[in-house]
Symmetry: C2
Subunit: 250 residues, 2 copies
């Protein structure tokens, strides 16, 4: 199992696809060079084009010749040297036989960064959504966020095409708003923790909370959005660049 | 007077030069388009190639047609629209006649970011120096940093060619080490505040402190370095990408 960080700006997402740059494609290419075998990986969360990860988890079967802790250290260093500088292998460890980075994940955390104001971010321009205009009403956004915590049908917060014929019930443990400064630029961070996520779910949650923060909707509107079970009831999908897949707990 | 932030990665420094991209070149080009006059600017600190700024200060004479507070707001917005997305105008204000962003500056602050460890930074790769290897001895670096505070001849901390025939005495108010997390990546930040700085001074200070942090020198070695009044006595010049010109006080 690898812990992988990546700047998603230059990638068509995590999942391998023909003819385009993907994080999985780069990782499996490096794994094949190091292990001299084709290796198929499984990740904890397939991030979309332009989405970043700090703690993506990637599992694959143990490869002959890489069976000890010191082999793992060598694997990590070799992969770091072979992958581009927008991908880093932060760690490598053994898990039990049959373990899956995807199916064994108990909790996933995403963080979404917003820079609000009349000045565009410079250092954060690839890692935050610039919400141009007056500052956002954070207390109102917090009230709205509270309505999303718990078990709900999040169909309104799922890309419509992906919701067909599947359950859209999910459990959110936390939806928090944090005020942070990164590289000297003030950010509003939406921290979302849950068991599993629907397609575009965090970005639609953020787009919806920003409707409230900008004063276009009341916090209680979120309750109506949940009840509608219809993508068109929610706010817009916030841009990919603000989103980071933060951490996975097993 | 403008407050300007820039990601220095793509620039040959602040100061205008023929045939290369510079921050001053981009700013003066935008100013000329907005004001329809050639405008010559003065900055608080000419940053080198690859060095960033959060609070660079840039002054120029008041231009006809831009004499009120509301003109200033218009000027800021127009400049933000005309400059590339790695330059942002964070503010614009009037100062007294004859004011100079350079000569009236009382105190300048620089911050230098280091990511130490075996994993290369991903999000911080353009904004920090990756010091590959074990973590740095921060208490030892703090002891070394304390020797630099106050008024000293910093000739050993100045690019040799720039020191000739000029005073190299400077006053440092603070040399602090802060442990911060930016975009999820742990950084060691060297915060340096002083009245004025020699060429490469902060980067040579950082390169010297890292010699101590890596255990290659004792903290008291810094006293010898100061006394030598010779560039070759100090540590290496730390890479440009870790440095940000943070703030100026008038």
């Amino acid at each position: 199992m690898l812990t992988v960080a990546y700047d998603g700006t230059g990638y068509a997402g995590f999942a391998r696809q023909p003819e385009v740059q993907t994080v999985q494609g780069k990782l499996e290419e490096a794994l094949r060079i190091v292990t001299r075998e084709p290796v198929t990986t499984v990740c904890a969360g397939r991030t979309d084009a332009g989405v970043h990860a700090l703690g993506q988890q990637v599992s694959f079967p143990v490869v002959e010749g890489f069976e000890t802790e010191s082999d793992l250290g060598r694997l990590k260093r070799s992969l770091d040297a072979l992958t581009p500088d927008d991908i880093a292998i932060r760690g490598a460890r053994f898990e039990r036989t049959g373990f899956s980075a995807r199916f064994d994940a108990k909790e996933r955390e995403y963080r979404y960064r917003i820079v609000a104001g009349s000045t565009p971010p410079v250092f954060m321009r690839r890692f935050a959504w610039w919400h141009k205009g007056p500052s956002l009403d954070i207390p109102a956004m917090r009230l709205a966020a509270d309505h999303l915590v718990g078990e709900h049908d999040f169909r309104s917060f799922c890309m419509a095409a992906s919701a067909e014929g599947r359950t859209t019930w999910r459990y959110l443990d936390r939806v928090e708003l944090l005020e942070e400064s990164h590289l000297g630029e003030d950010c509003l961070v939406v921290r979302v923790i849950g068991n599993a996520f629907l397609h575009n779910m965090v970005r639609i949650i953020v787009g919806t909370l920003v409707e409230v923060g900008a004063g276009r909707r009341e916090p209680s509107w979120v309750v109506e959005v949940l009840g509608a079970r219809d993508r068109s009831a929610a706010g817009p999908t916030a841009p990919a660049c603000g989103l980071t897949f933060w951490e996975v707990r097993y």
